[in-house]
Every structure is written in structure tokens, then in C-alpha cells.
């Protein structure tokens, strides 16, 4: 079927030739990788400290506290994720370290899609190599990495011991293992989407470190949605891939004269193969980054290839074409793929981290909004409580002026402080913030201005005093008259001051002749109303403002601290991102 066919031996020779190049041009970005982990780690630690301090800052009743816990919980989740990523990365670096001189080809795909058979074919030219075959071939070096605990899986270091991958009718692979030939490292992975999810997870963890991924799809049902999702993910992380339709053969059956079945493996009908290739190619083209699919979809059959070991048979099986495409990659891109892959991986990690950070930013800006909203709530509450307090105070003032309170100003101060402190607690309770010692601080009553001193309002009056001799009696008369007048006007305590007033007047008594007039200061009123107005102004009307100031002095620092926290997180993230971007940009 193909003109472009290469034998396995030729391909291996190409890889071998490549080994020297790999050796000469190693690209070590180890420093960058550890920088990357360090940067993230430092960021996490910084954030954790900030969080601890922050959560202590807010009262336990404040709904913002649960939000803050939620926030730090979500951030922690991200950090755990990062830690896992870092662990996986260091595992991968460790894993990759041994294969610096070869192209790391990783076989990846659904369970039972022929991965291990293909690996065996690559290693030995047969999917189930016999001991004799192993004797005479160039012997690959097998190695093992990690293994899941899935019961039916392969044994510990099975491939190393048996020098082949386990091939079975049912799910057989549960380890990352592979073999090395000069210039080529081949890694077999457990299947995706099986009922043993652990196997698939292990495969995913290691796939990241591949230079080239051969994605196997069974030709029985190619292009399933779950396959396309996996490929999408690989392409998104800039992996170079090839897609293989494995098992593209079928059986021709017949019966012999004794009533037995006779079978013959043939390749699937050419048209069927073409339909499948077209279909999967079409699906791939719709994906982003589809240029990272290095060759067209290849239908292959190891089973057919090993039964037809002629060059024609190898070509017909599709294996020849696969070898050819690998050889092309070998000659053209393998070195640059190899050199770029670590950086590509790092860039991908940085992109993923950037996404994580964007998510964090969203959470934090949500939290900042809540802080804003809480402040709005508080201010709204304050304006309504202010009206209420002002009205309480006014009622008290009116009452206290009727009651003739002795120490008026003191009483007003006390009451105003009381109301303001009470309302402040109410306002803060409303937003759930009452635990903080700082917020219990009493209102500073010195902020209240006084009311004018009590004084009487007097008028100077001229009156007839008679003769000089009659002074004394008139003196008494005047006192009586004035006392009566004043008593009429004011009554009560005002009367007490009358004597003095009259006394002062007496000194002004004229000394003129027969008809003498005197001038006298007469108390006509006092400044009680002025005092009351001042009290209303200085204690009642001003109360909303004072309450506002009082509460905001208490709440302000908390709010500022919360906003500062958000700002600090934001700055931390920007800094981290800048640093990471620098890492990604520096030349290789």
C-alpha cells in the first residue's frame, strides 16, 4: 500500500546515528526548573503566612471570616496541586535524566489499543518475541519506573526480567516501563479509560515527559470522543504526537474438509482503512494546535507485519510507513524536539500556573468585592442608626430641659456617649463584627462640644425712686416688685438671683433732688432656649456624624487591613507571574 516504507533495522540505524548528536547537544534547564519550583514555593509560603495573620484579624462572627477561610482553603487546594505537580516534575526529571541521549518515545492510548504489542515489535520485530528471536537480535536494555497496585497488572520489573512487555487478552500493563536502543527510548504505559483508573492516571503523569507520543487508537472504533479529548489535552500542552490506528487487520476465515476453521490474517479493506484515516484526520484537523500532529493518521497491524516479514508485507502492514515517518522525524526534527521539550514542558507548566493564578485572582477580587459590600452595608446601617440616635437624643434633650436637670451638660454628654456606643455596637453587630477587642472601644466624649453657660437675660429699666430719705423703704418695695415680676415671668430658681440684681441696682440710685429715678438691671428671661437649641445642635443633630466617625475609626483599620491583604496578594501574584514569564523567555 505504501511507497514510503522503512524497515525496522534501517530505523534503528537512524536512531543510532542520532545518539551522538543528542550527546553533544544536551539542553539542561535544570536550574530553570528548580527556579520555577522555588518561585512557586516561595509564593505559597508567603501567602500562607499572610493568610494566617489575616484570618486572625477578623472576628469569628464576621461573615468575611468564613469567606476568608474559604479563600485560604481554595488557595491551599491550588498549592497542594502545585506540590503534586512539583513532585511529578521532579519524578519526571529523574526519569528523563537517564535518557538524555535518546528520543523519548512514549506509547499512550486506551486500554487494549495494542501499545505493548507495538513496543515488543519495535524491540524485537515481533509482538510476542520467542527466546530464539531474542537470542539473535540486537538486545534492548529494559528498565522500569513506577507501577500501580492494580491486581491484574504486570509483575514488579516484569519487562526487565522477561525482556518484553506483557501482552494479554485483558488489561495487562500497570507500570511505566520501557527499553533503550541507541538513540531511542521507548516507553510503554498503562491504558487509559479502563475500569482501573489508577493505571490511566499513572500514564498521564509520565506522558508529560515524552519527546514524542504515539497515540494508539484501536481501528475497531477509532475517533471516540474520549480519545479526541485526550489528544486535545496533549496538543494543548504542546506535545508532538502521531496517531496510530492499531489492529487494522481482519481475519479471513474458511473451513477445511474436516470441519475445522481455517483463519488467515489480512489487512482491513483498503477503502475501510482510508475511511478511518480520513475520519480521524478530519477530527484532528478541528483541534487547536493540530500542527503538532507530526504525520497523518497511520493504520498499522503488528500482527500482519510479523506474519508477513517480507518488505512488501511490512509495507502492507503499515509498520513500514510508521518506521518511515519515525525516520523522517529522526532526520529532521528529533534533535530539536528533544532540545525543546524540557523548555516546552516548563512553558506549559507556566501557562497552567498562570491559569491557576487567574483563578486565584478571581477569588481574591470576589473577596475584595465582599469587603466593599460589607462597607456599604455598614454605611447604610450607620445612616439609619444615625437618624435613630439623633431622634433618641432629641427626645432626651427635650425631657432633660423639662426636668430642670442640675448638671445639664454632663447629663447630655453621658447620654450621647451612651447612645453612640450602643449604636456603634449595633452597627458592627449588623455586619457580624463584634469579636474584636479594638472595636469595643468606647466613644470618646470629649469630641462633644459643650452648651453655652446658663445666663440670665436682663434689661436695664428706669424707675422712680422718690426722695433720698425714702431710699430704704423703696429699696424694699423695689425688691418686692421685681421679685414678683421676675417670679411671674420665670418662677423657680430664677428668683434666687433676684436679691443680687436688686443689690447692684441700689448702688446706682441717683442723688438728685425731690424726684429721683433709678436705673436697674431687670431679669426678663434666660438662655434656656438658646441652651436647648445648642444641645439639639451639638448633641442630637451632630450625632449621626459622630456615630459615623466613631464607627469608621473602629472599622476603618480592619477594612484597610483587609484591602491591604487583597492588594498584597495581588502584588505577590503579579510578581510571581513576572518572574515566571522571565523564566520562560530567557534563551535556551
Amino acid at each position: 500500500m505504501q511507497k514510503e516504507s522503512t524497515s525496522r533495522a534501517e530505523l534503528m540505524a537512524s536512531f543510532k546515528a542520532l545518539q551522538r548528536d543528542f550527546d553533544n547537544k544536551k539542553n539542561d534547564i535544570k536550574n530553570k526548573e528548580s527556579d520555577f519550583d522555588q518561585l512557586r514555593k516561595r509564593f505559597c509560603e508567603q501567602l500562607k503566612q499572610r493568610n494566617e495573620r489575616f484570618v486572625q484579624l477578623i472576628g469569628s462572627e464576621n461573615p468575611l471570616q468564613s469567606l476568608a477561610y474559604n479563600l485560604s482553603g481554595q488557595l491551599e487546594k491550588n498549592f497542594d496541586n502545585w506540590e503534586q505537580q512539583a513532585a511529578a516534575r521532579s519524578k519526571g526529571i529523574q526519569f528523563r535524566k537517564d535518557f538524555g541521549d535518546s528520543l523519548l518515545v512514549f506509547i499512550y492510548g486506551k486500554v487494549k489499543s495494542g501499545k505493548s504489542s507495538l513496543g515488543n515489535y519495535m524491540a524485537w520485530g515481533h509482538s510476542e518475541p520467542t527466546p530464539e528471536l531474542k537470542e539473535k537480535s540486537l538486545s534492548p536494555t529494559y528498565f522500569s519506573a513506577e507501577q500501580t497496585n492494580v491486581a491484574s497488572g504486570d509483575q514488579d520489573k516484569e519487562a526487565e526480567k522477561t525482556l518484553q512487555f506483557r501482552v494479554n487478552a485483558t488489561e495487562a500493563t500497570s507500570s511505566i516501563q520501557g527499553f533503550k536502543l541507541p538513540g531511542l527510548t521507548w516507553v510503554d504505559s498503562p491504558g487509559l479509560h479502563s475500569v482501573n483508573a489508577k493505571n490511566g492516571d499513572l500514564a498521564k503523569e509520565y506522558a508529560e515527559h515524552a519527546d514524542l507520543i504515539l497515540y494508539t487508537m484501536s481501528s475497531q472504533a477509532p475517533g471516540r470522543a474520549s480519545d479526541m479529548e485526550e489528544i486535545t489535552e496533549l496538543l494543548n500542552s504542546n506535545k508532538k504526537i502521531m496517531v496510530l490506528l492499531t489492529g487494522s487487520d481482519t481475519t479471513n476465515e474458511d473451513e477445511d474438509e474436516e470441519g475445522n476453521l481455517v483463519t488467515m490474517v489480512v489487512m482491513k479493506d483498503l477503502l475501510d482503512r482510508r475511511d478511518q484515516v480520513e475520519y480521524v484526520n478530519g477530527e484532528l484537523e478541528q483541534l487547536q494546535n493540530s500542527s503538532s500532529v507530526l504525520a497523518e493518521v497511520l493504520p498499522i497491524s503488528t500482527r500482519y507485519a510479523e506474519r508477513n516479514m517480507t518488505p512488501e508485507g511490512i509495507a502492507e502492514s503499515g509498520m513500514g510507513r510508521l518506521m518511515y515517518e519515525l525516520q523522517v522525524i529522526c532526520a529532521s526534527q528529533a534533535l530539536s524536539i528533544k532540545l525543546n521539550m524540557p523548555m516546552e514542558n516548563l512553558r506549559h507548566s507556566i501557562r497552567v500556573t498562570a491559569d491557576d493564578l487567574a483563578g486565584m485572582r478571581e477569588i481574591i477580587s470576589g473577596f475584595a468585592n465582599s469587603i466593599g459590600k460589607q462597607n456599604d452595608d455598614l454605611q447604610r446601617e450607620l445612616s439609619s442608626l444615625g437618624v435613630q440616635g439623633s431622634s433618641q437624643m432629641r427626645a432626651y434633650i427635650n425631657q432633660v430641659f423639662i426636668d430642670e436637670h442640675a448638671d445639664l451638660e454632663n447629663a447630655l454628654r453621658q447620654k450621647a456617649s451612651e447612645i453612640i456606643s450602643q449604636l456603634a455596637i449595633e452597627a458592627l453587630n449588623k455586619i457580624g463584627e463584634r469579636q474584636q477587642q479594638g472595636l469595643k472601644q468606647a466613644f470618646d466624649s470629649s469630641r462633644l462640644s459643650g452648651i453655652p453657660e446658663y445666663r440670665e437675660i436682663t434689661e436695664e429699666k428706669e424707675y422712680f425712686v422718690g426722695t433720698r430719705e425714702g431710699n430704704k423703704s423703696l429699696w424694699g418695695l423695689g425688691g418686692t416688685l421685681l421679685g414678683g415680676a421676675a417670679g411671674f415671668l420665670l418662677g423657680g430658681p430664677a428668683g434666687a438671683a433676684i436679691g443680687a440684681s436688686v443689690g447692684s441696682a441700689s448702688s446706682m440710685v441717683g442723688r438728685s433732688a425731690s424726684a429721683e429715678y433709678g436705673r436697674h438691671q431687670v431679669v426678663v428671661s434666660d438662655n434656656r432656649e438658646e441652651q436647648r437649641q445648642a444641645a439639639i445642635e451639638n448633641y442630637s443633630n451632630i450625632l449621626p456624624r459622630l456615630l459615623d466617625e466613631h464607627v469608621n475609626t473602629l472599622y476603618g483599620p480592619l477594612r484597610t487591613a483587609m484591602l491591604e491583604y487583597c492588594g498584597a496578594l495581588d502584588r505577590d501574584m503579579t510578581e510571581l507571574m513576572d518572574n515566571l514569564e522571565n523564566l520562560a523567555q530567557v534563551n535556551q
Binding site: V111, A169, T170, V195, A197, S218, Q220, A221, D275, V387
Partner: protein, 287 residues
């Protein structure tokens, strides 16, 4: 369309489907169901005698996009699109599942059941409840791909999976459509017999006769089960809508209640001032 709207549209669809499925006929309906390219259409062609000239269209890539029916002597065969490709196909396939009396779950014998298939079978079990072992027939296709009897271990692994993961023990047949086709076309009895198709056909004939009298009752029960499921989903959707609406209303309600509080305080304030004023008024009058 938002996710919410999609869910609602699906529910609406499910409701109208439930109400529409009424005339199913007197013959049992047998639906082939399973993942894409499992060999469903070929199987139905073989079962209905369309060996040389296919009735249900087949191909190397997915071919069946809508449900298709064929009435035979004993039953009605229903072909459904393969699952695991796209949503429209799946919706058709589930519709086919809803109207079926017997399900042929077709699985290609290359490997054991994967997680996707296990999940699908769990859904089938939900519809058929305790009748499941009788109404579900597992058909392991592409027996011709067998080498060295490997498929025996695959099929016994599958039976284990069915038992362990889903808790069912359905009847299981291994078949090869290509073997049967060749056996019939070239009159080769060994191929025909070893294709497993005659056994399956006979089993379906017998099963159809057996369940014929119980069809209505069973369909009614399934309808009830589905109705109950759908009702539950509807209630859940309604509850979600309610919550959605109340979450939309919440900010306004908050604002209104704050506004009302302020108004109430102002009213009190006004009243207390009015009282004050009227007291002063009285005083003035009394002077």
C-alpha cells in the same frame, strides 16, 4: 445556549418522548445498543437474514446516525447509533433504549469492558431494574478476531466485570458476523454454526415468545420507572430554577427591605416629632 437551558431542553425532550412512546406494537422490540463500531448494524443484518444485501447500513467509520426499525416474524429489530461519539447520536440511542423490550448490548471482543461501557450498563440497569438479567443480552462480537482462544479469557473477564461492577448476570453470546455472512453466502455449515448467530437467533425467538404475554405489563412498569425518574429530575430542575430565581431576586429584596426599614424609622421619627409638636402646641395654647 447556557448549561441551564440545555438541561431544560433535554428535560423537555425527555418529557415529550415519554408521552410520545405509546404505540410500540404487539411484538417485542429488540434494540442493538453499545459503543460506536461494536458491530450493532451488522449483527441486526445477520439476525434478520440480510446477509448479502444489508438492510441496516454498515461501514468502517460510524454509519448509523438515527434509529432504524425492521419488523420480522417474531420481533421488531431496532438499530441505534453508537455511543461515545457525539450527543445527538447518544440522544437517539437512548431513545432506542427507552422503547426496547430486549437490549442487545454489543461489545467488540478485543478487550474487556471499559469505564464508559460500565457506566452505560449502569444506566440500562436503572431502566430495567430487576428484569435486567432477562432483558439484557450481552453480545460479544468479532469473534473472528480471536487468536489462540484469547477471547475466552476476555469473555470470562467481562462476566466478572458485569458481576462485580454492576451486579448483573445477563446471558452472553459470542458471535462473528463476518463468519456467518461467509457461512451463509458460501453454504459452509461450520462457519455458520461457529458464528454464534444461529444460537443467538434461536435464543431471541424463544425469549420473544416467552415475554410476549408480559410485554404490556413490563412496558408499563418501565414506563413507571422512567416516569418516576423523570419526575425526580423535573422536581430537581424546578428546585434549581427556584433557587436561581431567588438568587436573582435576592439583591433587590435586600435593597427593598433596607429601604423599608429606613422608611419605617422615618415614619417613627415623624410621629415622635408630631407628638412633640402637638405638646408644644398645647402649651402655647394654654398660655
Amino acid at each position: 445556549m447556557s448549561e441551564r437551558e440545555q438541561v431544560l431542553a433535554q428535560l423537555e425532550n425527555a418529557c415529550s418522548n415519554l408521552l410520545a412512546v405509546s404505540v410500540l406494537g404487539e411484538k417485542p422490540r429488540i434494540a442493538a445498543w453499545g459503543l460506536v463500531k461494536a458491530g450493532k448494524s451488522s449483527l441486526l443484518n445477520m439476525l434478520s437474514g440480510h446477509v448479502e444485501q444489508e438492510f441496516f447500513k454498515t461501514g468502517a467509520v460510524r454509519t448509523t446516525r438515527v434509529n432504524r426499525e425492521l419488523e420480522t416474524d417474531h420481533y421488531i429489530l431496532v438499530d441505534t447509533p453508537g455511543l461515545g461519539i457525539d450527543d445527538d447520536d447518544s440522544e437517539q440511542a437512548f431513545k432506542g433504549l427507552d422503547s426496547a423490550d430486549i437490549i442487545l448490548f454489543v461489545h467488540a471482543l478485543q478487550g474487556e469492558l471499559d469505564q464508559e461501557e460500565i457506566d452505560l450498563l449502569i444506566e440500562v440497569k436503572a431502566v430495567y431494574t430487576e428484569e435486567i438479567d432477562r432483558r439484557l443480552v450481552i453480545v460479544l462480537s468479532q469473534l473472528d478476531k480471536d487468536e489462540n482462544g484469547a477471547m475466552n479469557s476476555v469473555s470470562s473477564r467481562i462476566m466478572e466485570q458485569l458481576q462485580e461492577q454492576i451486579g448483573i448476570q445477563p446471558t452472553c453470546f459470542k458471535v462473528s458476523n463476518t463468519r456467518y455472512r461467509k457461512g451463509i453466502a458460501e453454504s459452509k455449515p461450520v462457519l455458520t454454526k461457529k458464528s454464534g448467530i444461529p444460537n443467538l437467533a434461536q435464543y431471541l425467538d424463544t425469549l420473544s415468545l416467552e415475554i410476549k404475554d408480559q410485554l404490556e405489563a413490563a412496558r408499563y412498569r418501565r414506563q413507571q420507572v422512567r416516569e418516576a425518574q423523570l419526575l425526580k429530575e423535573l422536581e430537581q430542575a424546578i428546585e434549581e430554577e427556584r433557587q436561581f430565581i431567588s438568587s436573582l431576586k435576592k439583591p433587590y429584596i435586600e435593597k427593598i427591605s433596607i429601604f423599608n426599614q429606613i422608611m419605617e424609622k422615618l415614619r417613627q421619627e415623624f410621629n415622635s416629632h408630631s407628638d412633640e409638636i402637638s405638646i408644644i402646641q398645647k402649651k402655647i395654647n394654654s398660655i
